[in-house]
Amino acid sequence: MTLLDVENLWVKFPSRHGVFDAVRGVSFTLGKERLGIVGESGSGKSLTGRAILKLIRPPGIMTADRISLEGDDLMPKSERDMQAVRGQRISMVMQDPKFSLNPVMTIGEQIMEAYQLHNAVGKKAAFAKAVEMLEAVSIRDAPRVMRAYPHEMSGGMGQRIMIAMMLIPNPQILIADEPTSALDVSVQRQVLDIMDNLVKERGMGLIFISHDLNLVADFCDRVLIMYAGRIVEVCDADKLREAKHPYTQGLLNSLPRLDEPCARLQVLKRDPAWSEAPSVSGRI
């Protein structure tokens, strides 16, 4: 079943040297699956994630033929109507917990605020729900964490708290923008496993934005590869290593590998034709 259907999405920024197209006509669909979006910095992957929530601020301009969430088109919705979509139906986890948690509020207050904003419940019920959510993301001693401030938390805990906060309104779609790139490898796995379980249990759709090809190949079901604002290739995650586009191959070959030592790493040679070629559709 299709949860989200995006067609011909553009994001533009007017500048002194003419209009800069950051995302150029991207189309894809999302079912109850884990969809990865990979690319280098500046390829438009994060902007695609933000544009789904209509979070492009002026002077940026976004246009799309359609962004429909379970048949409900988001494009004509007003800012006020979008508030009911953001958090409630589509949630987003940002890259760095240091910058996305409020430093002067306790973690408990922040999670309860997120819950009470979307549900008419009392403080007591909100507290119980928040503790339950923190336990769901494997945080031990949740009542103590509720009283703590963000600076008292490690990066991995902070990111799990962010995930708890985003999942508490029970959204249908979770957009995770580089959720683990600020974390150590050993903690990375843990956070991914937690996210994976929650997504499976709740039957959610997940959009996983990352620059780490190996991670995406392991973790996702389907992958969109973006280059210069367009999708250059769509493939199944387990077949990413057999990818055909020279850009994807170049990215994979430029990674150093422990099992295959080499004297020099391959360097990506960019072909101007890649950015000219029309976007591949990621629709099913």
Binding site: E40, S41, G155, D184, V185, S186, V187, Q188, R189, H211, L213, G250, L251, S254, L255, P256, R257, L258, D259, P261, C262, A263, R264, L265, Q266, V267, L268
Partner: protein
Amino acid sequence: MSMISVENLDVWFGRGRDRVDAVKGASFAVKRGESFGLVGESGSGKSTILRAIMGLAPDWSGQITVDGKAISGRREKGFYKQVQMVFQDPYASLHPRHSVDQVLGETLLLHGFTDIDDRVVKLLDDVGLGGKFRFRYPHQLSGGQRQRVAIARALAAEPEILLLDEPTSALDVSVQAEILNLLADLRVEHGLTYVMVSHDLSVVGHMCDQLAVMKDGEIVEIMAVDALRAMKAVHPYSQHLLEASV
């Protein structure tokens, strides 16, 4: 004889009950021309070791020897001609309002060179940037180009040892490959000794001959890269780290 040796190094911050022991009893030695890696999670003290060698962490005890000379107290001027450091984030380590020419020119002047003009051109060539980047400001450069400028600045003093603190972690994989190739070439051309900090085992595996695995301020294992490739880690923590990164 070893180029850098560190013996029983303790580094701490704060005092009294606020004291944090960032590095506890670390010892390792790097031969001339070798490349040595330090890996571990954030907070394990790997960058702190580099900072202690450079003199950026004031409270330490133990013994640091560079090219046979023990280091103590304030570093002599000659020390910085021998040892230079490249920092993690090229966005933060370059002055935003100094052009590349100013950055390199000032460094060369401070090291007492007189033929600054020729040397700036040569340094830019060495790191693969070329003359057209000479009068640009950092915001006119990409992340990879900035890191090249930071490497050129470190090479300005013609050092024998480069300390590299996560030189590619802020860069894309395609740019990372270019910078790692550049560092490998420079090591051969200039006969440099590297001490490299990274959280990425495959980067260290590619660049280094030996590595130390750190956890909670202590070195838990020192091994050769061949052992790493063969997945022959002895300490359970290094095994865990190795599993997580393959």
